[in-house]
Each structure stands twice: as C-alpha cells, then as structure tokens.
C-alpha cells in the first residue's frame, strides 16, 4: 500500500468507508454513487467476503465494472453474477428480518443524534428548499444493524436538529427512543464519514473520533454548525493509497461523477498534505 499524493475530498471519504468494510458481513448500499463505490472498494481490496445488496434486491453480485453512467441498479452490469435477484420489497424485508449488518448512506444534513435530512431545508411546508426524499435510506437507517453515513464536512450539514427527519438516527437521543418509535431494537447510526473526519456515537450523540492529517480538530469543528462531542484522543486517519485510488478511478467512479463536485483537491508537497 502506497500513500497517494493527490486526491479529492470525496475520494478520501470513500477510501475511509472502504476500510470499514468487514469480511463476512452484509451491506446495503443506498442508491448508487459513493455508498456503492465505497463498499465495492472495500470488498475488492480488504474484505472479499463482504456481500452487498442494493435497493433492487440484488444479492451479492459480482458486477461487471465499470457501470454504465448512472446504471447502478436494475441494469445488467450492476446485477451481474449475483447469487439472487429480487425486488425493492425483498431488499427491505431482508433488512426487516435483520440480515443486513451495515447500511451505507449519504445525505444532505445530519444532526447530533444521527438523524438524517434529505427532504427539506427550512421549515417544512414554508419557505425553504425541497430535496429528493429518503429513497431507500429510511429503511436502511431503520433496519440495518449499523449505519455508516457519508457526507461532506460543511457547516450547514452538521446541525443541532435536522429540519426534517427523513431517515431515523437516535431521534431525540434518549435511551429507547428508536424502539418507542417502532424501530427494531438495537439498531442505529454507527459512523459518519466526511472527507476530513470520522465520527462515532457516545453513546447516542455524535462524537468526533478521527481526522485526516491535513486538518485540525478546530478546523473540523468550525465546519459544524452544532459542535459534536470530541473523543479524548482524536485518531489520525491514513490518507488514500495509490491502490485505492487506482481502483476507484479505473473501475468504479471512472467518469468522476461522484468526485466532480467533490470539494477540494489534496496534494502532497513533499513534506505534508495540503488542501488546494
């Protein structure tokens, strides 16, 4: 593994998520894009026996890469060499049954308790901006045992309370809040990954646990409208490797769709990483 010398913010996030992928576990990757690429990257490099499904109920495919543009579900290359083909309901139901270890999501806004907004910024029904809605993320966040959220490190994305809970985190953060809302026992948010940082929950409140070498804790906190808890020791994450980036760029995000609007570019100046 060789530390890479030039990569984008979003590539960093995908590589970090890839390293979380565990062998022998099941992943439900939301939509296409960063969640799916992250899981595939992890599976190919670190955890060949990790398996995944997507919203169209495909089970454990060996996709023919790269995908055609935007064709990450209900497309022959995406569902290639699966162990079974299903439907949105079969995916949802297998998650309801507890078969999905991890859900991997991206989102617009996350709050201190891991609640996710992908529906509306502003007061719902009033002025504000409408977004696309939860898609599959509601069921992923409700029914997978642990959820990993990918988002950008931007002030407006880390808030005290989301304007609209599209997909559930720990709700109001009190013990048993999810169970009282009818959600399966023992599930919930597990990690949030941004291009700068990784967060866990302590126990139901967002906590900064790690950072990339090229940003400080203060810089991260400056990009959080509501400040998360901070671990006693904030670990330092390894930068992307050449192997990760090669795979990402040549087989997965070959058209740069997800890295297009992917924040800054980070380069190695011979002594340290700097953000452009």
């Amino acid at each position: 593994m060789t530390r890479a010398e030039a990569f984008s913010d979003r590539e960093v996030a995908m590589c970090q998520v890839a390293r979380l992928v565990e062998d022998g576990r099941t992943y439900w990757a939301a939509g296409g894009g960063t969640p799916l690429y992250s899981v595939l990257l992890g599976k190919k490099l670190y955890a060949p026996e990790a398996q995944y499904i997507t919203e169209d109920g495909v089970i454990a495919p060996e996709p023919m890469l790269p995908f055609e543009p935007m064709m990450t579900m209900v497309a022959s290359r995406a569902v290639y060499r699966a162990l079974a083909w299903g439907t949105m309901n079969s995916a949802g139901i297998h998650a309801q049954l507890g078969y999905m270890d991890y859900g991997v999501l991206n989102t617009l806004q996350v709050d201190q308790h891991g609640n996710i907004n992908s529906t509306f910024l502003g007061e719902y029904g009033g002025a504000g901006r409408r977004f696309g809605g939860p898609g599959g993320a509601d069921t992923i966040a409700a029914c997978c045992w642990r959820t990993i959220l990918i988002t950008d490190q931007e002030r407006r994305k880390f808030v005290r309370e989301v304007d609209f809970i599209s997909s559930p985190g720990f709700l109001d953060g009190t013990p048993g809040a999810r169970e009282r809302a009818g959600l399966p026992e023992g599930t919930g948010p597990w990690r949030v990954v941004t291009p700068w940082a990784m967060y866990d929950y302590a126990p139901r409140r967002l906590r900064l646990m790690a950072r990339v070498p090229w940003v400080t804790v203060d810089e991260i906190l400056a990009e959080c409208e509501w400040k998360p808890l901070v671990a006693d020791e904030v670990q330092v994450l390894e930068p992307p490797t050449e192997e990760e980036l090669h795979l990402l760029r040549t087989e997965l995000d070959v058209r740069g769709q997800t890295t297009d609007a992917a924040g800054s570019w980070i380069t190695w100046d011979g002594e340290k990483y700097i953000r452009a």
């Binding site: 497309a75 439907t87 949105m88 719902y124 409408r130 509601d138 559930p168 009282r180 809302a181």
Partner: protein, 333 residues
Amino acid sequence: MTLSPSSSRQIEILRQGSGAYHPVDPDGFRHYVREHKNRALQPRLMTAREAVDRFVADGDYLTYECNYLMRGPNAVFHEIIRQGKKDLWIAGKFTYVDVALLVDAGCASKIDCGFFLSAPAVDRALKEGRLQVYEYSNVIMTLRIQAGAMGLPFLPVRSFGGTTGFDHSGAKLISDPYTGDPITIVPALNPDVAVIHVHQADIYGNARIFGTGISDVEAAMASRKVIISAEEIVDTEEIRRNPGATSIPYYAVDAVVSSPFGSYPGTCPGYYGSDPEGVFEVFRAVMGNGVPAYLDKWVRPFETFEDMLEQQVGQAKLDAMRANEVVKEGYSA
C-alpha cells in the same frame, strides 16, 4: 414456550400522521376486480394510444415501475404526456427524472414521495401550489403497494417510525397486540392504474420480467387498471412451456402494448443497454429548466413512440444499444 393472548379489548394508537392518502378500500377493490377484470383468455393487445385513452383517466392514482432510465414504461409514459392527462397522483418511488417530467408537463399534481430528483420544475410547482407532496420512503411505498397486492387494508412495517415523514403521511404507530411493543402500520395502496414495462408478454397479458425490479408484480396485483408494455410479444404456447417464468398472470392485466425499445433512452436489462447521450440529455433537461424543450423534441412532435424511435433515434443507435448489452444470461426463460 406458549404465550397466552392478552385479554385487552383495545389497541392503543400511539401516534398518527396527518397526511392525506389514497383511500383504503379492499372490498371496493374486490368489487372492481369482479366487475372489470377479465378472467377469460381474451386478447388485450392494443396501441399505447388506445391503452392510455381507455385506462388512464384524469385524477387517477398512477404507479409506474422502475423509472425512465431503467426498464421504464417510457412508450406509455410519453403517451400520457402526449394525451395531456391531468391531476395524476404519482407513486414516486425509485424515480429520478420521471416526477419532474410529469409535473412540468402538467400531468401530475400529487406525489407520494419515496425519492425523486429535486428539480427546478418541481420546486416551481410546489411554490405555485400546483403540486402537493406526501412523505413516505421507497420501501414504505413498495410495502404499501404490497399491502394492496395482498388485498389488505394495511401492513405493519419496521421502518418509517420516528421520521418527520411519518407525521405527514397516512401511517400510524400502534401498540402491537401480540408483543405490546410499538409498531408502525401503513395504509395499503391500490393505485387506479399501473404501467409496467416487461421483457415478454403474450396477447392476454401473461408477462415475464427478467433481472431485478422494484415492485412490478405487486403493482400489477394492487392496481385496478394495468397496462403492460412488452419488448416482445410471445406466443401463449411459450408461456405454457415454462410457467415458472411468468411474473404477472393475465387476469390482472387490462392492456398489452407491443413496445420494442420501449424503455429508451434507458436500459431494458439483458435486451439493450441505455443510450448514455439520451440519459444525460434528460438529466440535464430536468436539472436545468429544460423540460419543455425536452418534451418538444422527444415527445410532442410524434404520433407514437415508434415514430420517435425511427425519426429521432434511428436504427443505428438502437442497434448499438442492443450490441452494447453484453450480458444475456439470466434474461430468458
């Protein structure tokens, strides 16, 4: 090992959404089936124009399967826009560009939201009060359709509780009479009309779908009127040769439309890949303000979808799409 049933006489409703929802009426659905669904093996092959004219009414609740980019029923979709259907209420699960197209075309005024591409056209319609959105999620929508497909008034679900969407929906949180634990129930959805694109169908509507899907079979069984468009019309003898390959039985189907390349510009998996140019074009149109121009180029000038394919796409591109689909295994019966 055994549990005595509780002797409680009531189930608490702990919380309930305030959103409007398509009426729940399983007995009414049954009566509709009895009176209108043809249980005889009589041909129901017709053009997209006839199918839409006869089976899509203004004000209908409409679900279509997959989406404009992936095995979408685009020939019928275009025809709905061409005929200027109004006030449709759309099951907006697993959609990308579709909702924006229907809203900007003036066809849809209500959306049950699972997911759709947020677009200027949708924003505008919302702000101008031409559009109402009710909040669900993708799987909650397909489970609502599954409840409808089972002839039930509602189904318990394990997600959706605790969300803001719940409060703006038809869901209820109740105390499960078997465990005492809170559980969400959602109202069944029996759309007025479903539009589904399939790989193969016979003239009676026995239909085969290969590959993955969203809620094709559920939508067919849940909906009062069902329009199937098919890449290939196959003989009923072929259906009878392998009954395990039948996804949708004829008695649920009202219209069969022969529609080769009916998912253009999207893919019909195993038959043809997408046209990336066409896909980017509709994306750009939707994400910008280009829907009217898109419809004026791709939909409105043509009498039929076939005319569009012939005049606007051309055989060479269609052949290339077919050639581009290298995966064939698993896409036949």
